[in-house]
């Protein structure tokens, strides 16, 4: 049985500028980026998050700038995964590539409130909130391969060794 963690709820079109403001783009390590996570919306966010917590958001999460710094910042403060109605293409790829799980599950987004407690089964994409089970959409096969490898870095490393 997985422990319960907390949902942090955000709206539609959360852009990468508010996730990680541009002035910090000269930083690139997880340790340096983490404290600024979501600073554009909520400067205290990184201090309130507990390891294993979940971000839930509406449509088009991670829109705007391609900055991978945004996904790195979210992962580095211990967010277990993001569940949204949909993701912007580049953010979605960035998250998968660095091993930050991202799930599309509009049913869950519609059903939860900020601060709700959730149980997460990452490998299955299954969530339990207030006794209700939610199943996220499956990943496309190619994406599943990158996830199973643990991200794009080990995926490419294996590919290079094979060649």
């Amino acid at each position: 049985m997985q422990p319960q963690t907390t949902i942090h709820l955000f709206g539609d079109h959360i852009d990468t500028d508010v996730i990680l403001p541009g002035k910090y783009l000269n930083l690139y390590t997880p340790e340096d980026l983490g404290p600024h996570c979501m600073e554009g919306l909520d400067p205290t966010f990184s201090t309130r998050v507990q390891v294993g917590d979940v971000i839930v958001a509406g449509k088009n999460f991670g829109t705007g700038s391609s900055r991978e710094h945004a996904a790195i910042a979210i992962k580095s403060i211990g967010i277990a995964c993001i569940v949204a109605d949909s993701f912007a293409r580049i953010f979605y790829r960035n998250a998968i590539n660095i091993g930050l799980p991202v799930f599309e599950c509009p049913e869950l987004v519609a059903a939860v409130k900020n601060g709700d407690r959730v149980t997460v089964e990452l490998a299955q994409g299954v969530f339990k909130v207030k006794g209700v089970h939610f199943q996220a959409k499956p990943f496309p096969p190619y994406v599943q391969g990158i996830i199973e490898a643990g991200g794009l870095v080990p995926f490419v490393r294996t590919q290079l060794l094979k060649n």
Partner: protein, 428 residues
């Protein structure tokens, strides 16, 4: 069943020579672009991947533009990291000084963008390449580490939305207004996971710079990429830059589109995107009179010579309003030199505007014109998200260069037609 321009460009960059919307394909791009913010992460990931040799160092282009010239020690170190990476792997295409500039404006000048080309950039505005009948696609840093290592990257081929341009634009209507109008109509996710394709008889009335302004903001509608049809203006442009890598593409008459839309340039008016969304396009009249603290004329698509000429036309012989910072940022060193030859820099200086070195600068809140809490900017840039140019409680209004320059004189958002009857585009 025919193919879109996007499908054709993607197809020529696959091993099988085939790409259809909705399919996942593996692509090998003609150019891979990194800058001083995305590049640091790419370099780290390449180390972790254990990469000893790059797939093709000739294809890699490194541009220091975001925090360039370095705003502080950390930024200087990031640029140094990129420079050393280039040296270590024999990448000749490193641009920081001399001939340099903002990546998406610089690449076409260098002959790295042209008809049929595929450019992968670790920057969302890589879609600017679409103006020259190419596909530019933005990615994150790790994806580009993968493509630099292996020469390949998976993508889902986007279905396309066809935009037919007709008519001639009015006096103060520019490419910026075309894209602000489209995003106001379809929303910031109106083209999510799709491509935007532009063509039609109205295209001839927009120069390459104005097309770049349109292509640049395709991503603000959620688009993966953007392609304009090729025409004589594009062929003339590439005859000067030397692009010979690929052949031009045109859409098949029976190409399958998600949607076909028509934009009549004659019916457009100058638009302003009010904060905090590029989709908040409104008329100048509806926001006229709002006091601005800063006017910013620059960025990867609206720091072109066309923009500088428009701004100079407004500012010639005028004085900027007291207490307004006016910052003009030519997008590349070549544009800077052209502006100097035409006497535009002198006009800006005489009016009280500052001219910066080419840099991404304040567009993304980096440096060179950061806003304090409560401050308002009118800017020719591409994003007006909350806190984009500085403090979370500052605001950015997006506009074309004529409209932005008019605010420099009055200190408030102003219809450029009120500055002078002789101003604006020549309308026959």
């Amino acid at each position: 069943m025919g193919f879109t321009m996007t499908e054709k460009i993607y197809a020529t960059h696959t091993k099988a020579g085939y790409a259809q919307a909705g399919e996942i394909v593996v692509l090998t791009p003609d150019v891979v672009l990194l800058n001083d913010t995305s590049g640091s992460i790419t370099v780290e990931q390449l180390k972790k991947m254990g990469v000893q040799n790059l797939y093709d160092s000739e294809k890699v282009v490194l541009v220091a533009d975001h925090f360039s010239p370095p705003k502080d020690v950390t930024s200087a170190q990031s640029i140094g990291l990129l420079r050393n990476f280039g040296k270590k792997f024999g990448i000749k295409n490193f641009y920081e000084s001399g001939r340099y500039g903002i990546e998406h404006a610089l690449l076409p000048e260098l002959g790295k963008v042209g008809p049929g080309g595929l450019i992968f950039g670790a920057d969302s505005h890589t879609c600017t390449a679409g103006a020259l009948n190419a596909c530019g696609v933005g990615f994150g840093s790790t994806d580009l580490a993968g493509v630099i290592a292996t020469g390949e990257l998976w993508v889902k081929v986007p279905a396309a939305i066809r935009i037919e341009l007709v008519g001639k634009p009015g006096r103060f209507v520019t490419g910026k207004d075309v894209i602000l109008s489209l995003i106001a109509d379809i929303g910031v996710d109106g083209a999510l996971n799709a491509a935007l394709e532009f063509g039609g008889p109205g295209l001839a009335n927009l120069n390459i710079d104005e097309r770049m302004a349109i292509a640049n903001m395709a991503v603000e509608a959620g688009a993966d990429t953007c392609v304009f049809e090729c025409d004589e203006q594009v062929l003339r442009y590439i005859s000067q830059t030397g692009w010979k890598v690929r052949q031009a593409v045109e859409p098949d008459h029976d190409a399958v589109y998600l949607e076909r839309r028509v934009i009549n340039l004659e019916r457009l008016e100058p638009l302003i995107a009010a904060p905090p969304s590029p989709a908040n396009g409104v008329s100048v009249a509806s926001v006229a009179g709002i006091t601005v603290n800063q006017v910013y004329i620059g960025n990867c698509a609206n720091g072109t010579i066309t923009d500088l000429r428009q701004a100079a036309q407004i500012l010639k012989g005028q004085s900027i309003a007291p207490e307004v910072r006016v910052i003009v940022v030519p997008a590349t060193s070549a544009i800077y030199q052209q502006a100097a030859r035409e006497g535009l820099l002198e006009i800006f200086a005489a009016a009280g505007a500052g001219v910066s070195l080419p840099t991404c600068g304040a567009c993304f809140g980096g440096h060179m014109g950061i806003l304090a809490a409560g401050e308002i900017a009118i800017s020719t840039t591409n994003r007006n998200f909350k806190g984009r140019m500085g403090h979370a409680d500052s605001k950015v209004y997006l506009a074309n260069a004529w409209v932005a320059a008019a605010a420099a004189i009055t200190g408030t958002i102003t219809d450029p037609a009120t500055i002078g009857a002789h101003l604006g585009r020549e309308v026959s």
